[in-house]
Symmetry: C2
Subunit: 327 residues, 2 copies
């Protein structure tokens, strides 16, 4: 029920994914009348693989996590997480309130042994391909131990998505050993001593986009600023490019000719393609879709959840964490 467009985006995205992935079963949690009405607008839906689970309440996008936790026992978000907890679903995908989703996920699913707080990770495009960045805002005050846990979890998440021995780096203001704040310097010394992790040292903001690392670790404040400012800058460049191509008759003509190329570039870098941030460190799979994502973007988040289910991400995380954190 959440996100900027609610079921008006989630229902068509779900139906498209069902058609695309024959093994997929989906449970839509929310107000049955609205959901069934939206489903009925589509022809040829395999209802045997699309179930509607009733939930009478909705958590607002601006509601405080504590309020969502205490006040709404029958919210769509909570019911969806309880389906995962009870083994009735393999993963929860939500476009709703991030803070509430994190608080409810911790409360309903619990964290893995050794993990204080879950982290959020997503892929962002780089010169070389993509980079997995975490934390994206779940933890704004982080200790060195938290950064260390994020590094371990980010590496496993990257492996699950197909990378072998991913290069793990700490985001910093320089690459020399003396650079950084206290947490980052201490985290570096922890990571240097870690076995079973391809830790390559510090990376700077520009190095991240040059593709110098596969997994980049930072606290949630820095990660959130980096992600949102990148979105903002890309949008600004796009808008300025459009404006340039609208200045004169000649530039309009060039713009018309260049349109297919620019469209392909845009889809190459499109947030929709990279949509879906995983919550790592929970006893279950939770994927957060961007609140403003359209059906295509929400579909990416569903596909990300499918991969994590197939790869059994929580079990792999638990095994690696036991080996690395509890030794």
């Amino acid at each position: 029920m959440g996100g900027d467009f609610g079921p008006h985006c989630i229902v068509p995205a779900s139906i498209a994914c069902l058609a695309e992935i024959p093994s997929l079963h989906l449970v839509l949690v929310g107000q049955p009348s609205l959901l069934n009405e939206l489903i009925a607008q589509h022809a040829g839906v395999d209802r045997a693989r699309l179930h509607v689970e009733p939930a009478s309440e909705v958590i607002g996008m601006d509601e405080r996590p504590a309020q969502a936790l205490r006040g709404k026992p029958d919210s769509s978000m909570r019911v969806a997480l309880e389906l995962v907890r009870d083994g009735r679903a393999h993963a929860c995908v939500s476009a709703g309130n991030t803070g509430a989703l994190m608080a409810l996920s911790r409360f309903v699913l619990k964290t893995l042994p050794g993990i204080d707080r879950p982290a959020m990770v997503t892929a962002i495009p780089t010169q070389e391909g993509a980079c997995h960045l975490l934390d994206l805002g779940a933890n704004v005050d982080c200790s060195a131990e938290h950064l260390y846990q994020f590094a371990v979890m980010g590496a496993v998440a990257a492996e699950v998505l197909g990378l072998q021995s991913p290069r793990v780096a700490l985001l910093n203001v320089g690459t020399e050993e003396v650079k950084g704040n206290q947490q980052v310097k201490l985290a570096a010394s922890l990571l240097q001593g870690a076995s079973g992790l391809n830790y390559i040292g510090f990376v700077e903001g520009d190095g991240l986009f040059r593709g110098e690392a596969d997994v980049v670790v930072c606290d949630g404040f820095v990660g959130n600023v980096l992600l949102k400012s990148s979105e903002g800058l890309a949008a600004m460049i796009g808008a300025r490019l459009d404006a340039r191509f609208r200045r004169s008759l000649f530039s309009r003509l060039v713009g018309f000719l260049a349109m297919p190329l620019l469209r392909r570039l845009r889809s190459e870098l499109a947030p929709a393609q990279y949509n879906g941030a995983s919550f790592l460190g929970l006893q279950g799979i939770v994927v957060k879709s961007h609140g403003a994502a359209g059906p295509q973007g929400f579909g990416s988040a569903i596909r990300r959840a499918c991969i994590e289910v197939e790869q059994d991400l929580p079990r792999r995380l638990r095994g690696r964490l036991e080996a690395m954190l509890l030794q």
Copy 2:
């Protein structure tokens, strides 16, 4: 003598600025033989306004600040700052080692009353024009009081560059009051009570590039990551655009036609145009040029220093700080 290209960039930039600004006098500090040789390659230089001041040592780009402070009494950087301290120059512009420049600036020039540590500020392009971002890396661990000082200094610096009543915002991971880490939340309460400052609240990374604020305040870790990742992302988009325009004969043709437009867009967003970060909070004017800046970029840094001299930035900062911090 500093920066990636040393006097090979600084000498031509200086000569171009002398021709452009009739009231400008420049002192080039460094090895006289090399400097004079490079000057002699240019015709029609007004040597009455271009003086060479000898300095026998050079601080390396990777040297540690403490080493630069203790070890090299006759470095070009230190001699240049001493010229400012002794009233023989109005401002120091350097492309050298940032950490060394900050340490030497504090040691030679001293900070203004009430300022613990100077901050670095620069302008970055936004959808609406430009935004003044600070701190950019001089202070990686910041208290709420530091952020408050940065806000006051950033506002004065923006006014000096021509903005009236600049909108000052704190960079945060959300715009609601409950969002943020401890320092940011505390800084917000300090700024809400400040008079004489147009404080507008929190801004997020994407809001910054939408032009929602004129001055954006954050700690040096976050600011450095934001600045460098923006550089990296813009370079990546440019490289991917170039690659798209080189894929086929048709796309090469479109690329050829689009080239003048893209060139104008690039110069609109070019780092060179925005080059020059001011050190705020010192008893003197110091402008840091990007180490990788070319002559055009170094010229921007010189012009920024000229404006700060004309507007007497340190005196204005001192007045505002006395009114706001020491009341």
